[in-house]
Each structure stands twice: as structure tokens, then as C-alpha cells.
Symmetry: C2
Subunit: 229 residues, 2 copies
């Protein structure tokens, strides 16, 4: 990260993190020694808040407790849409039924999903991500969710706009073959897949997505990028 910043390249952190506010997310990474600030982060919750305000939507939230503060300024009375994030332990049978009832009760159900990831890895193993629960609600209510977050095109375009960089000059580095690599490429960017985190060897046979290159870790990605300057 320091080498990227020292090179003068523009940098943006694109996260689908919806288990915490950007503040908490940044603090965690700072604690790990990363040079990162809230202003450098593109995340789904603030993007969703913009949409809610623009369209006068009042959400019923099915999100992680720690994400709720991001929606502090949003009117949540008499909901006319559902916003789903990676609610983790909040994905209880009761909460899923409640979100479902709010949706099915609408004449035209509106479901915003903070990402469409299939699963992710934590220290105690793989976990279902928000995309799986989004699919459950989509099917039950016969609606299509609007995805805010990777791999949505709009999300990558926001990040590019915030940097003031055209897609052709940007490179995405990520561990998720669909959300990171596929999403960025569909937006016209190049993308490297790191063989860490949620990477699995079978990703290299993915039927639709092929990264521009594989790297074994972030440092190797930086090597490649700086070599080409």
C-alpha cells in the first residue's frame, strides 16, 4: 500500500463490507498497519443512502447491528422498501420472515441489497454472504433486488468518478472472482485476482470470468503494477 501511495498512483478501497460503518472498517485496517482514511473508501451503505434519499424510500433494515449508524439520517417509519446487508447473526428465522412480510405486503416490492456475494471466509470457516439471503427474498416475493456494491457497474463507476480516473487506466485487485474481478472487467477495468482470502483453485476454471492475471498476494500485484509504469 505504501509503495502504491509513494508512486503517486491514485488509490481507492472498494469494499462490500456491510458489517460495520466505514469508520469502524477503517479503524480496523489502521490497527493492522494500513495507511487508509474514511475518505478513501467506497462502500455500499452510503451508496444506498444516496439512493434512498433520491427516491424517497423509507427502508426496513435487515443489516448488521454495527451498520445501523450509517442509516442514522434516513427516515425508517412506515417502510416502503427493504434494505438487506450482510446481517450475519441477525439473519435469524424471525428477522428473515419479518423482512419477507414487509416486502410481500407492498404493491410493488422494492429490495435493495448491499452486495450480492455468495460467501466469504472467516477464521471459523466459510459463511453465507448477503447474496444468498437476497436470492431467498427475491424468490419468495418474485422480485429482482437492486444490488448496491460490487459487482454492480454503478458501484465501480462511483469509485472511478471519486478518483477521477477512466476505467481503461484503472486496475482492480481482489480475491473474489465474480464480485471483484468480473464486476471490474464488465466496467472496462483490468483486474488481478489474488490467490489469498476467499480465492479457491477452481476459480481458475470459472466459466465466465478470467482475470487479466493471477498474483499470489498483494505485494506481487503491486510489483506488477509498478513495473508497468
Amino acid at each position: 500500500l505504501n509503495r502504491i501511495k509513494a508512486s503517486g498512483l491514485k488509490l481507492r478501497f472498494c469494499t462490500n463490507e456491510t458489517q460495520a460503518t466505514r469508520e469502524k472498517f477503517v479503524k480496523k485496517l489502521q490497527g493492522l498497519g494500513f495507511d487508509i482514511s474514511v475518505a478513501e473508501v467506497t462502500a455500499p451503505a452510503p451508496a444506498a443512502c444516496r439512493i434512498l434519499k433520491e427516491r424517497s424510500l423509507r427502508p426496513h433494515l435487515l443489516v448488521h447491528n454495527d451498520l445501523v449508524p450509517e442509516f442514522a439520517e434516513i427516515d425508517k417509519t412506515n417502510p416502503n422498501c427493504v434494505v438487506i446487508g450482510d446481517a450475519a447473526e441477525n439473519f435469524t428465522y424471525a428477522n428473515l420472515n419479518e423482512a419477507f412480510r414487509v416486502l410481500i405486503g407492498m404493491e410493488k416490492p422494492v429490495l435493495l441489497s448491499l452486495g450480492s456475494g455468495r460467501y466469504y471466509k472467516e477464521t471459523d470457516g466459510l459463511k453465507l454472504d448477503v447474496g444468498a439471503y437476497m436470492k431467498a427474498l427475491e424468490y419468495a416475493c418474485d422480485v429482482q433486488a437492486e444490488v448496491v456494491g460490487k459487482p454492480s457497474k454503478m458501484f465501480f463507476e462511483s469509485a472511478l468518478a471519486e478518483m477521477g480516473v477512466p476505467a481503461q487506466q484503472a486496475i482492480m485487485i481482489g480475491d473474489d472472482i465474480v464480485s471483484d474481478v468480473g464486476g471490474a472487467q464488465r466496467c472496462g477495468m483490468r483486474a488481478l485476482q489474488v490467490r489469498t482470502g476467499k480465492y479457491r483453485p477452481c476459480d481458475e476454471n470459472h466459466p465466465h470470468v478470467k482475470p487479466d492475471a493471477y498474483v499470489n498476494n498483494l505485494a506481487e500485484a503491486v510489483d506488477i503494477i509498478l513495473q508497468q509504469l
Copy 2:
């Protein structure tokens, strides 16, 4: 029910009930005054057991506690498939993650779903049905579940075979526009939708399924059927 039985017509109860064994299910209906026996019931769990035995599959079960006895004779060690039913309160975050991990760990994931219903109604409101959770696992693991139960064609065909009646001479009565009416019609049967239970007025504008007739209740369905004898 008594009028149907007295008429000499053959009768079969096709249920997607997976919250209890057939024994419990029948006892409940008997308690409500219905003349019904276990031998008259076609249900997903015994159908799944036949498939598991035929294909030497050892299931990881994500089902309702009360359904577990139906799988008593099935080897469940070292699972090579997942069987999902309407687990209700067992649809916890932990249990869903566990079923997911078993599936994603297989070279070729096999998911059997005891039904594909979207939701159902209980006294305390609408609840997500097994189909929604099936979709979540399908998406997370990029697999297609094999559905055992309505509206699968195989399930209706079993019921017809058990009665020894060709589809053209059979009539389905049900409250679910997709699982009951659509499934039976795709099998060559006629189907009546009752305007009770999970029926909703918007079912009458369903884009794909149109019942042969609507009836306000089961008694009215029997009237129509007996009139045509």
C-alpha cells in the same frame, strides 16, 4: 371428504408437509375430524428416502426436528448430499452455514429439496418456505437443487401411480397457484384453486398458471366434481 369417499372416487392426499412425519400429520387431520390414513398420503420425505437409497446418498439433514424420524433408516455418516426441508426454527444462521459448508465441500454438490414453496401462512402470519432457503443454497454453491415434492412432476406421477389413475382422469384441489395448480396441470391433470389458505387475490392474474376453475372452499370443489360424474 366423506362425500368424495362415499362416491367411490379414488382419493390421495398430496402434501409438501415436511414439518412432521406422516404419522403426526395424519393424527393432526384426524383430530380435526378428517377421515384419513397414513397409506393415503403422498409426502416428500419418504419419496426422498427412496432416492437416497437408490443412489447411495448419505444426507446431511437440514429439516424440522419432527421430520427426522422419517430418515431413521438412512445412513447419515460422512454425508455426500444435503437434504433441506421446511426446517422452520431450525433455519438458524449457524445451521444454514453448516449445510452450506457441507455442500460447498463436495466435488459435485447434491442438494435435495423437500418442496420449492415460496411461503405459507400460519396463524401468526406468512412464513418463508423451504424454496426460499433452497434458492439461497443454490446460489451460494452454484448448484441446482433436485426438488422432491410439489410441483415436481415426479411427485404427482407417484401419487397417480399409487391410485392407479391416469392424469387425464384426475383432479387436483389446492390453494397454491404454483405448487398445487401449476404442478398438477404440467402433469396433465386438471386443477381447482380454492380461495382459502395461502390463496391471494393476485393469484388470479398469475402470468403462467390458470386453474381450470376457482372454488371458494373445499365443499364447493366437491360439489363441482360430483356434479360431473
